[in-house]
Symmetry: C2
Subunit: 206 residues, 2 copies
DNA sequence: TTTTGATTTAATCAAACGATTAAAAAATAT
DNA sequence: ATATTTTTTAATCGTTTGATTAAATCAAAA
C-alpha cells in the first residue's frame, strides 16, 4: 500500500485548501472546483477522499472550532491562577492565535448563525464539563462587592468584544486607517497589554 | 394607471423580503425563489421589478449601509457637543437601532469581506466629507495628556467593539446564558448606560 | 364596458454545480 | 519488472438555480 505519509499529506493539503476557501467565502459561495484549484489537485480527487462538499465542510468546521476553543479552556478552568493572571493569559493566547488565523472568528460566527442547533451539536462545546473556574472568580468578586453591581456576563462579553471584534472589522479598520497588514497586527499586539488594563479599569471604576 | 401606491408597496415588500433573506443567509445561499416565497409574491414578479438577483442585492445592500451609518454622522460631526455627550448619544442611538435590526452588523461585515473594493465604492462612506469632530476631540485629549499615551484608534475600536460585538455573537451569548430574545435585549439596553462609563474608565485609568 | 396595468401561472432555457464513472497515466512499493 | 496505489483526464448525469417568455387572470381606471 503506497505512501501512507503521502496519502495523509494530500488529504491534509485538500483540507487545508478547503479551510482557506470556506473561511474566505463561506459554504454556499464555495465551489468544490475552487477547493480543487486552491489545493492544486483536481475535482475528482476531492470526492475520492471526502465523499461530498458537506462532509468536507463538516470536517473543516469541526477542526476550526476545536482550534478556536483549544487552549482557552486550559486557561479558564485553571484552579490555581489568579483572575488577573487568567485574563492576561487569555488575551495573549487569543490575540496571538487570531493574528495567525484572522478569518477564524468570522467563520465561526457565520457557521453558528447559519445553523445554530447543528453547530452546538457538532462542536463539543457543551460536552466539556470542566468547571469554569474563571466564572466562579468573577461571580465571587461580584458577591464580595469588589466590582460594580452589574451582571457579570457583561465582563465576559466585553472581553470577547475587545479581543474578537477588531478581527471581524479588520477590513474596515484597515481601510479607514490606511493600514498594512503589518501595521494592523502591530496594533493588535498593543492590545495584548491594553485589554487587561481596560478590563481592570472597568472592574474598579465601571 | 392602476395603483401607484400598490406598485410602490409591492416593490417595497419585495425589497423588504429580500433584505430579510439576504441578511439571514447571505447572498450566495439566498435563492430568488426564497425571496419570492418570503415576499408572498412569485418568482416572475421579482424579475419584473428588479432585473436580477445582483441588482436587488445591490439595492438592499446600499440601503442597509445607509441605515447603518445614518444618524451616526450627525452625532460624530456635531461641533457643539462635548465628547462625553457624543459618546452617550452614539451608544444610545446604535444600540436602539441594533435591537431593531440585529442582523445588520453581520450583513455589513460579510458584505465588506466578500468584496471590499465594491463595498467602499458603492457606499458613500468616503464621500461624506464632513469633518469628524469627535476624532478631533479625542486627538485633542491625547495631545493634552488627558488620556493614557495610546493610539487613539483603540478608543474608536473599543467603542465599536463593545457596541457591535454582542449582536454579532448574539446566538452564542443567548445559547450560553439560555436567554430569550427579550432577556438579551434587556441586557443590551443595560449597556446603553454602561458602555459610556466603561469608555470613561478606560480614558482615565487605562 | 372597455382598457390598461399588475400579478399569476406554467413552462422552458441555459448555465452552474455537485457528483460519479471508466480508463489512462503516473508514482510507489514489493 | 510487476503489482498496487494514487492521481489525472475527460466525459457525463441529474439537479439546482437564475432568468425569460407567453398566455391567462385579476383589479382598477377611464
Amino acid at each position: 500500500m503506497a505512501t501512507e505519509e503521502t496519502q495523509q499529506s494530500t488529504e491534509e493539503k485538500i483540507k487545508e485548501a478547503a479551510r482557506k476557501v470556506f473561511t474566505r467565502k463561506g459554504f454556499a459561495a464555495t465551489r468544490t472546483r475552487d477547493i480543487a484549484e486552491e489545493s492544486g489537485y483536481n475535482l475528482a480527487l476531492i470526492n475520492y477522499y471526502f465523499r461530498s462538499k458537506e462532509k468536507l465542510f463538516e470536517i473543516v468546521m469541526f477542526e476550526n472550532i476545536q482550534h478556536f476553543v483549544k487552549g482557552v479552556l486550559d486557561i479558564v478552568t485553571n484552579e490555581t491562577t489568579e483572575l488577573e493572571s487568567k485574563i492576561e493569559h487569555l488575551v495573549q493566547h487569543y490575540i496571538e492565535m487570531l493574528i495567525a488565523n484572522p478569518g477564524l472568528p468570522m467563520f465561526v460566527l457565520n457557521t453558528v448563525q447559519s445553523d445554530p442547533e447543528q453547530f452546538f451539536k457538532n462542536t463539543g462545546i457543551n460536552s466539556e464539563n470542566r468547571p469554569l473556574h474563571m466564572v466562579k472568580q468573577i461571580r465571587q468578586m461580584a458577591e464580595d462587592g469588589k466590582m460594580p453591581p452589574i451582571n457579570p456576563v457583561h465582563i465576559y462579553v466585553n472581553m470577547m468584544s475587545l479581543i474578537l471584534f477588531p478581527f471581524l472589522g479588520a477590513p474596515m479598520i484597515k481601510h479607514k486607517g490606511s493600514m498594512s497588514d503589518e501595521q494592523f497586527n502591530a496594533l493588535m499586539r498593543e492590545r495584548i497589554i491594553l485589554i487587561p488594563r481596560w478590563i481592570k479599569a472597568m472592574l474598579q471604576n465601571g
